[in-house]
């Protein structure tokens, strides 16, 4: 389509003597000056002018050709279009220059009449016009077609990309594990994916209802407000956890994200819900939470949950709020475990837990198991103390019926410590300690009862607690010492021996008598090492007295044996070892055993005592007459001494003495002597008492009338005084 000079218009035709190219160039220059400004070409003016020269030559040659055929000029118009001279407004300039200058610069050769030249020039212009128009039309059509093709191609490409994109989105939509649903702004559900259909038990059920039905499934005003804002385009989304009823009656928990879809102009168009089924996760979490906060055996809240609730109760209501706590410990549970086994013990605990659960009357009360056989009931902000004591009463009542385990009726009792009152600045630990202490008070008072905490009892108990804790170390630190109270022969008034009485020189509480700490030592098991120490010390002391008295007439020593020591398997060996190590004559040692320790003892249990007696050690029955003294037992117990309790001697302090007491003591002494036992009397405080008792035939006396307990050297002085 580029313009090529017609072969017909050969340069050789130019007449000699002319400079045809000069004229041709001149014409092209004029032509170019007229057309260039209206041509959208990137050629420079010079280039454009060069470009026009061949076209000018065609015009010249066509003008001259014989026969004249203007059709050759058609290609000039075509070539101009090809050179981007496409503006229709250029055509007048193109033709105007041909009209005015072509014949002038390139006259026909041989010369033609002027009319003929003019006609030919006009016909050339017609031909150029034809070429220009045809080429312009073809070019326009071609370009339009190519553009349309391009547009179609681009569109097809975009559509296929869109289709691919949609296919990808569709795959995401269909295969997503999260539920996806799209609804219009009126709430009509347009599309849901499989995951969502599964969650709601079917596509039809989902599509049947409007979004508002699902949104207000549990009547949440929050969501209604959020949804309204979303639909108005004021927010782009919201997020919540939500419960939906399922057709089978179960509940679906979903993590819901609702988003607004807008049209390209930004107007709200659709709403989309993304929904994740978190039912199992929630279930698992709540199971884990339940496991972490509940006792596996009984299913009751555990210690952690109890403290959590107690902390809440203590902080939520402020210092003026009130709390009530019942701390329950089963009486004698350890015995059940030890004798019947843990399986039975566990079943007993489960039964107790069930009964306790029934005692709770409202959501402000919980019962927790916080230890082996320890349970706590918490009342949050009780109306008054009655509400708490009523709960304790219900608990005791609930435990009053024996529990049936394996066809065996197990009696079950408990002791309850109650803490009630304003929260104040108490911590959970304070409250529980107070309840614990009070529970022990209830236990000490016989159990199967409740006691209410008061500050004084707490303080005492705290001391008791402190003493118990201090006992083990006290022995190592040498805080114990022994005083000796003389035993006086009533006939001769001489010192026959002394009872060893242990004292605790406590760093904080001063000197404590055995009544303050022996029960604690017995309860904690510390009595065994302590008793051993006392025996060793007393035996060593008696041995010293023996040495000082050259054996004969030296005071004997009486040492108390607690029931626990009595049942300790090493007792006999211990006594033998002490005698061996100190070299004390067994005759100089007397072990005092209380009547209550021997009650119900069978021959096996008495065996150690008999073995000790066989060693030559005397055994005294202490506190005789305080219990249900079984006189017949005196026949077979390995005894040598009977110590009458001071209760018998009170009536003899004055003159005349109580005749009944006199008769009783006379009878007992007679019985004892009949069985070969000597009789010692405790608590002699007056001369009158001493005389009565001597008259009644008692052998030995002990009491303030003679001497208070004191250090061993004082006894030594007394004996020396006797001897003199």
């Amino acid at each position: 389509m580029t313009a090529r000079p017609a072969q017909a218009a050969a340069e050789g035709d130019t007449a000699p003597g002319e400079a045809p190219d000069d004229n041709l160039r001149r014409f092209a220059a004029i032509w170019s000056r007229a057309i260039y400004p209206v041509t959208a070409t990137s050629m420079t003016r010079a280039e454009f002018e060069d470009h026009l020269v061949p076209l000018a030559r065609i015009l010249r040659d066509t003008l001259r050709a014989a026969p004249f055929d203007p059709r050759a000029a058609v290609q000039v118009g075509t070539a101009l279009i090809a050179a981007h001279c496409t503006d229709p407004e250029a055509l007048p300039s193109i033709l105007g220059i041909i009209d005015a200058y072509l014949v002038l610069y390139c006259p026909p050769q041989p010369a033609l009449p002027a009319d003929e030249s003019r006609v030919r020039c006009a016909r050339l212009q017609h031909a150029v016009s034809v070429g220009f128009s045809q080429a312009l039309r073809e070019r326009t059509l071609r370009e339009q077609e190519s553009l349309s093709r391009a547009a179609l191609a681009a569109q097809a490409e975009a559509e296929s990309a869109l289709a691919a994109s949609e296919a990808r989105f569709r795959a995401v939509f269909e295969c997503a594990a999260v539920g996806i649903g799209i609804a219009d702004l009126d709430g009509r559900v347009l599309e849901v994916n499989d995951a969502m259909a599964r969650m709601f038990g079917g596509r039809e059920r989902l599509m049947r209802h409007n979004v508002s039905y699902w949104a207000q499934a549990d009547k949440e005003p929050d969501q209604r407000a959020l949804s309204a804002e979303l639909l108005r385009g004021e927010r782009d989304g919201y997020h919540m956890e939500k419960a939906y009823p399922r057709p089978d009656g179960s509940v679906l928990w979903a993590n819901l994200q609702v988003s607004l879809l807008r049209d390209p102009a930004g107007n709200p168009q659709y709403q989309m819900a993304l929904m994740e089924d978190i039912t199992e996760r929630r279930g698992l979490l709540s199971r884990l939470r339940h496991q972490a906060t509940h006792d596996a055996l009984t299913g009751l809240p555990n210690r952690a949950l109890f403290f959590e609730r107690l902390d809440q109760a203590l902080t939520a209501s402020g210092p003026t709020g009130r709390i009530g706590v019942c701390y329950l410990d089963l009486d004698g549970f350890k015995t059940v475990n030890d004798s019947l086994g843990h399986a039975v013990g566990d079943r007993l605990l489960v039964a107790v837990a069930d009964r306790l659960s029934d005692c709770v009357t409202g959501p402000d009360q919980i019962v927790a198991r916080i230890g082996g056989d320890e349970f706590v009931a918490l009342c949050t902000d009780p109306a008054d103390q009655h509400e708490v004591t009523d709960l304790a009463t219900r608990i005791l009542q609930a435990l009053s019926t024996p529990v049936l385990v394996d066809g065996r009726e197990l009696p079950v009792h408990g002791s309850i410590g109650i803490v009630h009152g304003p929260v104040g600045d108490r911590t959970a630990a304070d409250v529980l300690r107070s309840a614990d202490i009070t529970m022990y008070r209830a236990k000490d008072l016989g159990g199967n009862r409740y006691e209410v905490a008061d500050p004084d009892s707490d303080a005492r108990a705290i001391t008791r607690h402190g003493l118990t804790n201090g006992l083990p170390g006290a022995l190592e630190r040498g805080e114990f010492f022994i005083e000796y109270q003389p035993l006086i022969g009533l006939v001769d008034g001489a010192v026959h021996g002394a009872e060893a009485l242990v004292r605790w020189c406590h760093p904080a509480h001063g000197i404590l008598g055995p009544d303050r700490f022996i029960p604690l030592a017995e309860a904690s098991g510390q009595i065994v090492p302590l008793g051993r120490w006392v025996l060793e010390q007393a035996a060593r002391q008696a041995r010293e007295w023996q040495d000082e008295h050259d054996g004969d007439g030296a005071p004997r020593v009486n040492v108390n044996l607690s029931p626990i020591q009595l049942h300790h398997p090493d007792l006999v060996a211990e006594v033998a070892r002490v005698l061996d190590e100190t070299g004390l004559s067994p005759r100089s040692l007397c072990l005092e055993v209380t009547e209550s320790a021997l009650i119900g003892a069978d021959e096996d249990q008495l065996k150690p005592l008999r073995q000790i007696a066989d060693l030559g050690v005397d055994i005294a029955l202490d506190d005789f007459g305080t219990g249900y003294s079984n006189l017949s037992s005196l026949r077979w117990l390995p005894l040598s001494v009977l110590k009458l309790d001071r209760a018998f001697t009170r009536g003899m302090r004055q003159h005349p003495a109580d005749p009944v007491d006199l008769k009783i003591v006379e009878g007992v002494v007679s019985l004892a002597h009949g069985l070969g036992l000597t009789v010692t009397v405790e608590g002699i405080e007056t001369r009158t008492q001493a005389e009565h008792l001597r008259a009644l035939g008692c052998d030995t006396g002990q009491g303030w009338y003679y001497a208070r307990p004191g250090p061993p050297d004082r006894l030594h002085r007394l004996t020396l005084a006797d001897a003199s």
Partner: protein, 270 residues
Amino acid sequence: MTDRPSWAPQGIDLTVPSVSRIYDYFLGGSHNFEVDREAGRLVMKALPGIAKIGQANRAVMRRAVRFALDHGITQFLDIGSGIPTFGNVHEVAQAASPEACVVYVDNDPVAVAHSRAVLEGNERATIAAADLRDPRSILEHPEARRLLDFDQPVALMLVAVLHFLRDDERPAELIATLRDALAPGSVLVITHGTLENSPTVAGQHAAHEVYRRTSTPVVTRTTAEVEPFFDGFEIVEPGIVPVAYWRPDSPSYDEDDPVLQVLAGVGLKA
């Protein structure tokens, strides 16, 4: 509008005028639809010399291509190439140097499709559908990677495209990203619309209004505002000047005056 993932296709809306088709219309082409011509006519009414501006812009581009060829550069990256009407870079470059390689880049899917048709069979010229606003996507485009060796100098052509970027699209930073990928000795060619030397401010504003209706409004800039685009390049003589004055082939004529409304500059990377 929410962000679309990069693999989600852009739609084609032929009812919106396209700058590349309007430009074709100015250059006397017929690669345009009525909607483009309507917009083009409005611009021409506002700025009667706009067709000449386009033409002069093509001319200066051609001169700049020759400048690059004179510096031994045979690789061309023409971003915002539009509809290949005539006097395109590959025509000029490959006419002078047959081994010249040209990568055109445009974000108009129709222009891309058209260019693809025009370039079919040309082993050393190609078109990449990408956007100047994401220069990495251009540098990493497989077509660019295939045809251009970035270890050798490249002529980066930003002809009549930067005035379609708003300031908040940070054109200087986009150019810097491209620049950093270019080897020393590379050339940067920029032509840019300006209000400086404008005969009628009102006309310019009217043209702005028309372009606002296209998907790409026009942001004119002054010489001082265009100069930072050459950061990292040494601007060659005669500096940033109206297109007609940038190394003209012949003295200019009076009728070329409207051409003063586009600036041209060429830089050499050290």
